[in-house]
């Protein structure tokens, strides 16, 4: 799967090149910041009418990841919807795709700052979630350990290109944004620098997951 396997708090996890995190032992796939319904929300607010295919594109990548991993459990780490109205405004094709993906799977929506309340869409809704000492929440907390989060949309420059990336140290994993219409925050942003330990890795997404230091030493 071209993923990057690593050990985190005693568990074997895999960073997939798509930006999803896979926990093979538990058959669990974790994705963050899907921002479903983003184009709809921008249009509603009177902005440009962006191509309304972002949600379909996001769900079709998620579908590919589920097929490849055979995951039976899914955690969406918050900001799954661009706002609470976006869930209701999801088009018919998108809704059906999402229902098909959710069918027969244990599905958890962790809440984020964009989607703080429960949605009428099935699955269970949580503020945060603990599994075997690992905590899954939307936004990292500075004193937390063994924490898996999203929110920041980290990205990293390498050899003249910029890619969304995972950030990883002994205490936490921060996932890249999985949604199609999402930008990113470079790893040298102070908020990310404060959170991550000295030996932190950035795992770039793309055609394969590629680890490199989060803070490269300048030659």
């Amino acid at each position: 799967m071209n993923g990057y396997d690593f050990n985190f708090a005693g568990h074997g996890l895999t960073a997939l090149p798509s930006g999803a995190l896979f926990w093979a032992a538990r058959g669990l796939l974790c994705v963050s910041d899907l921002h479903l319904g983003k184009s709809e929300r921008l249009a509603r607010r009177g902005g440009g009418l962006l191509p309304p295919y972002d949600s379909l594109a996001t769900l079709s990548r998620l579908s590919d990841d589920l097929d490849r991993t055979g995951a039976g459990r899914v955690i969406c780490l918050g900001d799954s919807f661009d706002d609470l109205a976006a869930g209701a405004a999801l088009g018919e094709a998108e809704r059906q795709t999402l229902m098909r993906l959710m069918a027969g799977r244990e599905w958890v929506w962790v809440e984020g700052n964009h989607d703080p309340g429960p949605l009428d869409i099935g699955g269970s809704h949580r503020a945060e979630l603990w599994i075997e000492q690992l905590v899954f929440r939307h936004q990292a907390e500075s004193r937390s350990a063994a924490e898996i989060s999203g929110h920041y949309h980290p990205k990293q420059r390498l050899a003249g290109t910029a890619r969304p990336c995972f950030l990883l140290d002994e205490k936490r994993v921060i996932l890249p944004a999985y949604g199609t219409y999402t930008g990113g925050l470079f790893c040298d942003a102070p908020e990310l620098d404060r959170l991550m330990g000295p030996g932190a890795l950035a795992i770039l997404t793309g055609s394969r997951a590629l680890p490199c230091p989060m803070r490269p030493r300048r030659a």
Partner: protein, 797 residues
């Protein structure tokens, strides 16, 4: 036609001024509905445009807007205001003249809408903005005349297309409106007349004397490559001393900066010399402009921001540093010197490197032969129509048929079909998507047969996005608070991102030290350093015209070059010895290693755009053949491709049929398409410009327009935005016609030379800007190597 006010005639006489014959003609023909005046620089062209207005307004005019003057530059509008006020105030006329540009304050602009002056001086963008308000009809009530200055410059870009749409709209608000276009010498006057509008009559002024123009002779030879002309600083300073006022033109802002810095280091006598370019803070520019008007400066180092008609005192010498790229522009710049009719202007060309010596020689010969260049422009692009529709909707509800008629009234859109119009309207109203519609959140809705904004609050966003100039993202540069907090100018965001604290770079002629980013401002401190890391501004990249390229090939074909300096002749000789000389009848391709990468140089002489296309197609073909290309860069004469593996035989690489097939393929996924898509998207209102205030809200919120492009390609490949992007690329940037022309010219005479080191003519390409990366297997291999190296360096592997 009324005569000029008696007091004005007296004032002219007191100054010893007499009208030129074309000025009198303009006055006599003031009733014509549309006139294009073509006159050489220094012929009092701008005054000619205003004379009928001064005559009609008389000594005590009624309140209300009479004449609208449009200039391509803010600086020009301010300059004309000064020049026009002199006779008006001198003769004691009660005519109010004001300018209005992006620099005008909010209160002033509001007042101008409610109580306009008699003569308003503005830019195309400000005009579009004024027309977007519901009270536009009142603002422009009574308007009689529009004067478009330097219309040839506007006609070269979308700014002119937008202006013509705005004039068509003005004409509907003010029936009987008369138009005047003012232009310096152009190669095709009838085409420019059609651009200004149907029924435009041409008035040709007498041409001035030929300029006194030559290449500056220098002790030191110019460098092998690179730009800036710093080798010639000693001789240039001597010229400045020998003249009253000198303008020193550069082709890019970065080069102007470096040159200015070095010039001051050599300026031991402290001659007053200033710098002027578009990246400098407004106060800085105004200070220089003021000093220039007062005659306090001996020289100004400048860029295109001073190209057009600004009339600044006693300029008696123009120096062009770097090859002029385009004969027409060179003629304009030369015209800056000796702003007096019937006196020859004096100009010196300073080639920045040996390649440019050949270019300058070709340009000199063209100027002497009165050979002007210019490529005809096709119909106006439709992204501008989309923006125009949004602008019109901001002003109020509109009727479909009336808008179509209005748009067709603009020269560049005279042939717009109903279907093309519908396409644009559908896009603007609904997004124009095939598979999924915004039923509830349309931008425009039809009510009672009229189109209008669904959400009137959207108007402010639309207004902020008006205009067709697409800037690269820039950040302001300021001295840190304890050094006074002075604004120095702007740098590109990508440049700012590459800085680490302690780095030094040049701006406003000063070396400064990068301290950090504060919000969206680059904070710097003064640095005494002499060797800065150079700022890469987005200075306009000129393409050498077809005409010059052809003349250059003719020069290269000579057996020897007695008219060129010895060092350049030797350089060309060296190329002939180590490789061979490129010719019109065959295609030279050189393959060589340099600094751990393999290179391929293709000397096509097809112009920058076609060479760029050649780069795209060839890298695609190389990717298919497993040659792992990493990127390429193009000049007007050649394309340089680099990659991991050497090209030792050409095989099918240059097969024209395969290249044409490849064209469709690369059109889909390459970086140039994405760059063009962004431009088209911003102009047509799909993508919002990044405003300083907006960006503050967090960078996660904004995402790259590349994502939109990829999404559209996948779900809606026939969408209007993709079609417009393809049209734009095919027309301007691809220039596939010239690639076909090239292959028709050279046939199968393609000569591959494998060399051990960089050949002389290829060397300058290593310094070209605008490198295009290739996202392929080579890039993946390189990423993996780089990541591995960093992991090892960090002790993490």
């Amino acid at each position: 036609m009324p005569d000029l006010p008696a007091r004005l005639i007296e004032w002219f006489a007191a100054q010893g001024w007499a009208l030129h014959s074309h000025q009198q003609a303009m006055l006599d023909l003031g009733d014509r509905s549309s006139t294009l005046l073509i006159a050489p620089t220094g012929g009092g062209k701008t005054l000619s445009g205003f004379l009928p207005s001064l005559a009609e307004l008389g000594e005590t005019p009624e309140a209300g807007l009479h004449t609208l003057y449009i200039s391509p530059l803010k600086a020009l509008a301010a300059d004309i205001r000064r020049n026009l006020r002199r006779p008006i105030e001198g003769a004691g006329l009660a005519i109010r003249v004001e300018d209005r540009t992006g620099d005008t304050s909010y209160t002033q602009r509001r007042r101008q809408r409610a109580d306009p002056p008699h003569i308003l001086l503005t830019t195309p963008e400000s005009l579009a903005l004024m027309l977007s308000y519901p009270d536009a009809g009142r603002t422009f009530a009574g308007l009689q005349r529009v004067v478009v200055d330097e219309i040839h410059a506007l006609a070269e870009s979308r700014r002119g297309d937008q202006l013509m749409l705005c004039l068509a709209r003005l004409e509907r608000l003010c029936p009987g409106l008369r138009r005047v276009g003012l232009s310096a010498t152009v190669e095709d006057p009838p085409a420019l007349a059609r651009f200004l509008g149907a029924g435009t009559e041409i008035l040709l002024a007498e041409a001035g004397p030929d300029p006194d123009i030559s290449m500056l002779e220098t002790e030191t030879a110019p460098p092998w490559a690179g730009g800036g002309g710093r080798y010639a600083i000693g001789e240039i300073l001597e010229q400045v001393k020998a003249h009253r006022t000198t303008l020193i033109f550069h082709n890019t802002r970065a080069q102007a900066e470096i040159f200015f810095h070095e010039l001051w280091q050599a300026n031991t006598e402290n001659l007053p010399i200033g710098i002027h370019h578009g990246s400098l803070a407004r106060e800085q520019r105004e200070r220089v402009e003021q000093a220039m008007v007062e005659g306090r400066l001996r020289a100004v180092v400048c860029t295109g921001s001073l190209d057009l008609g600004i009339d600044w005192g006693d300029v008696d010498l123009v120096i062009q540093v770097g090859a002029p790229k385009n004969v027409k522009r060179l003629v304009q710049r030369i015209g800056r010197a000796n702003h007096r009719y019937n006196a020859p202007s004096k100009a010196l060309l300073v080639p920045a490197n040996r390649w440019e010596i050949v270019e300058c020689q070709a340009a000199l010969e063209a100027v002497k032969a009165h050979d002007l260049d210019g490529e005809p422009r096709g119909p106006g692009p439709r992204d501008v129509v989309c923006q125009h529709m949004l602008m019109v909707a901001c002003a109020g509800p509109f009727e479909e048929k009336a808008l179509l008629a209005e748009i067709r009234g603009a020269g560049p859109y005279a042939d717009l079909s109903r279907a093309e119009f519908d396409d644009c309207l559908n896009f603007v109203a609904t997004g124009g998507y095939a598979l999924r519609a915004y039923d509830r959140w349309q931008r425009l809705m039809q009510r009672d047969g009229l189109w209008q904004l669904r959400d009137p609050r959207a108007a402010s966003v639309i207004r902020q996005n008006l205009g067709t100039i697409i800037d690269t993202e820039t950040l302001k540069v300021r001295l840190k608070g304890r050094f006074g907090g002075l604004a120095l100018g702007e740098v590109e965001e990508s440049f700012a991102a590459s800085l680490t604290p302690g780095d030094t770079f040049l701006i406003g002629g000063k070396v400064v030290r990068y301290e950090g980013l504060n919000e969206l401002t680059v904070e710097v401190t003064p640095s005494p350093g002499r060797d800065p890391k150079v700022a890469v501004f987005s200075g306009t990249k000129f393409a050498t015209s077809t005409l010059l390229t052809r003349r250059i090939l003719e020069i290269l074909a000579q057996d020897s070059w007695p008219e060129l300096p010895a060092h350049t002749a030797e350089w060309l000789d060296l190329q002939r010895r180590v490789s061979r000389m490129p010719e019109a009848e065959s295609l030279l391709v050189e393959s060589f290693p340099y600094e751990g990468r393999e290179h391929l140089c293709v000397h096509g002489f097809a112009g920058r755009n076609a060479q760029q296309t050649l780069g795209l197609i060839l890298t695609k073909r190389m990717e298919e053949e497993g040659l792992a290309p990493l990127g390429f860069v193009a000049s007007d004469y050649a394309t340089l491709i680099w990659g991991l593996d050497p090209v030792l035989e050409l095989g099918q690489l240059f097969d024209l049929a395969r290249m044409r097939d490849g064209l469709e393929g690369w059109l889909q996924g390459n970086a140039l398409m994405k760059r063009t898509f962004r431009t088209v998207g911003v102009i047509s209102g799909l993508i919002e410009r990044q405003h300083q205030g907006r960006r503050k809200s967090g960078r996660q919120a904004t995402f790259s327009s590349d994502i939109l492009y990829d999404t559209l390609r996948r779900f809606d490949p026939d969408h209007l935005m993709l079609r417009l992007t393809r049209d734009e690329v095919m027309r301007g940037m691809v220039d596939f016609g010239r690639i076909e022309e090239l292959f028709a010219r050279v046939g199968d005479r393609i000569d591959l030379r494998r060399l051990e080191r960089v050949p002389p003519l290829a060397a300058p390409l290593f310094l070209e800007v605008g490198k295009v990366p290739v996202q392929g297997e080579g890039r993946e291999r390189l990423l993996a190597v780089q990541a591995e190296r960093l992991m090892q360096a960090a002790g993490l592997a």
